[in-house]
Amino acid sequence: MADKPLLEVRDLKVEFRTGREIVKAVNGANFTAYPGKTLAILGESGSGKSVSAQTIMRLLQIPPGAITGGTAMFHGVDILKMPMDEWRQMSGKKMAMVFQDALASLNPVFTVGWQIAETFRIHGECSRSEAFDRAGALLERVGIPAARDRVKDFPHQFSGGMRQRVMIAMAVALKPDLLIADEPTTALDVTVQAQIMDLIKDISKESGMSVILITHDLGVVVDVADTVAVMYAGRVVEGGNVIDVLQQPAHPYTLALLRSAPQAREKGERLQPIVGSPPDLANLPTGCSFHPRCAFATDICRRQAPPIKSVAEGRISECHHAETVHHEPVHA
């Protein structure tokens, strides 16, 4: 990882204010994306992974949301403090996003060709007719059969997998440096999921585009990512190279997650679930947020927030007992 970072998010904090409660959706998250690499942000629902992505894309709805701290350096500029007008010129051109629900994310009343062409037109790339031509070519590139005819079709005329291809076409239209994919295959079947993931991998390889992949699926992380950031309760609790992290986790949460995944096992053998419930983001536990569910928790975990430790080259973990966990075998 000698490369200069493409996107560096530091200490990001996002809150949602509802009534008397303040929900700390993102609570000091750090992660870095490198050129040409794929970073997976892994987390369960409520971990703050999606909110982080939307915040970086400046899509957070304010109110009820509010950015209460942190920076996101992209090409040397803090994009969170950039004036909106300036950001609009960058958004979609330098950094693009693909969402989970492609049907809802495409405008139902415009043709897919129009929607892709709009990307070219608003960034002043080319004329209307040329934009349409390029839209057709793009649809062809993402593997839509009879693409040139289908530019005139509306989103509801496509199947789930095809819609996600349209979304990808739209996102990569201007060859962005960074693509944020927010659970792009969660709603899709495994066979289609494999196709879409391959497509993203291909395009990334082809154009040197970096990808931030938001997912809750360990398998997908292994499949496509170079580095991974594991999120829990709004913080990145562990980060590093995918194979290292998932083979030798240094945070109890990652370890517990791997252990709770149903693998091929003998019948009658029970899974090892993570005890307890996900944290209440409006009322986070003291010290380490994970301590009530953690098998390694000691007194210090209840009192003190853990420091960020480096357990190996390029590996960080936010745990008082990171070293102990790091030497724990995944499957006991």
Binding site: L59, G92, F99, A104, N107, E118, T119, I122, Q157
Partner: protein, 298 residues
């Protein structure tokens, strides 16, 4: 389309049988002061002594031929009288609806852009107020202030000058405007918080374009539906406004005929209005298909 044609048929049947429900239809057709001889003669002339189904066939046939009865008060075919009244109402309704939609979309979209902002609060309260204002009361209060006290506008009547139009149009606008602002605001809010708007923003589409192209285009579906209902409801407003301002439109004609018990005109007016509404529904359906590709391909 189907439902409006069924409604049309249902209405014609209802009009026919309502007249018979109340007893002897001659009571309805003739002025209250008509003597017995006239009544009998009239009943015979119009076949009211015949069985109902024969009368019904005759009635429907009459409609098909454009014969909607004869106004005894005015001594003219009811059809002609109603047709003469229509342009006034149509002009009034058209002007009003154009203004309602223009203003409501502007105000509603701006209110939705910053929900709970200052503009939104002002817009909400004023739209709720206009939607709650009794139109007849606003009309006479308006006359009191602008015509009687200030002498800026004419008290009533229809003329060529714009001063004749200001008050009737304003009064007629009040409730549809108030309602439409809320509808536009709500559907714009819905559209603006949708995932496709997020996509548009992520593409780098500017806020103005997000609102007026991406969101508004979707919100239009609801706006058109409500505008259609309101255009039908214009008749309601026209009844009051035309009566208060003395405009010779269909609303005033109908109220006058009811009070004068000129049944032929009432019947003709209902039939023609129902047909007009039928036509309107067809237009709305077509508009809907044009606006929503999902309906087009179903």
């Amino acid at each position: 389309m189907l439902h409006s044609s069924i409604a049309l048929i249902g209405l014609i049947v209802a009009v026919f049988f309502l007249a018979r429900l109340t007893g002897d239809p001659t009571n309805l057709y003739l002025p209250i002061d008509a003597n017995l001889e006239t009544r009998q003669e009239f009943a015979k002339l119009h076949g009211f002594d015949q069985p109902s189904h024969v009368q019904f066939v005759k009635f429907v046939k009459g409609i098909a031929e454009g014969d909607l009865g004869f106004s005894i008060r005015k001594q003219r075919p009811a059809f002609d009288i109603v047709l003469e009244a229509y342009p006034t109402t149509l002009k009034l309704a058209f002007t009003t609806m154009t203004l309602v939609i223009t203003f409501a979309v502007t105000v509603g979209a701006l209110a939705a852009y910053k929900p709970r902002g200052v503009f939104d609060r002002v817009a909400s309260i004023s739209s709720l107020s206009t939607a709650s204002a009794p139109d007849f009361w606003v009309a006479i209060t308006g006359i009191l202030i602008f015509s009687v006290a200030l002498r800026w506008l004419p008290t009533s009547g229809m003329g060529d000058g714009i001063e004749y139009w200001i008050m009737p149009v304003t009064v007629l606008m009040l409730r549809p405007f108030g309602l439409q602002v809320q509808v536009v605001r709500a559907s714009m809010l819905g559209a603006l918080s949708s995932a496709y708007v997020k996509t548009a923003r992520a593409k780098g589409v500017r806020e103005r374009r997000v609102i007026y192209v991406h969101a508004l285009r979707n919100a239009l579906l609801t706006i058109v539906t409500v505008a259609g209902d309101q255009t039908v409801g214009m008749i309601n407003g026209a009844v009051i406004v035309e009566t208060v301002f003395g405009w010779p439109g269909i609303g005033k004609l109908m109220v006058d005929s009811v009070i004068q018990r000129d049944y032929a005109i009432v019947q003709a007016a209902i039939t023609i209005t129902a047909s007009a509404i039928f036509l309107l529904f067809i237009i709305i359906d077509l508009l809907y298909v044009a606006l929503d590709p999902r309906i087009r391909h179903r």
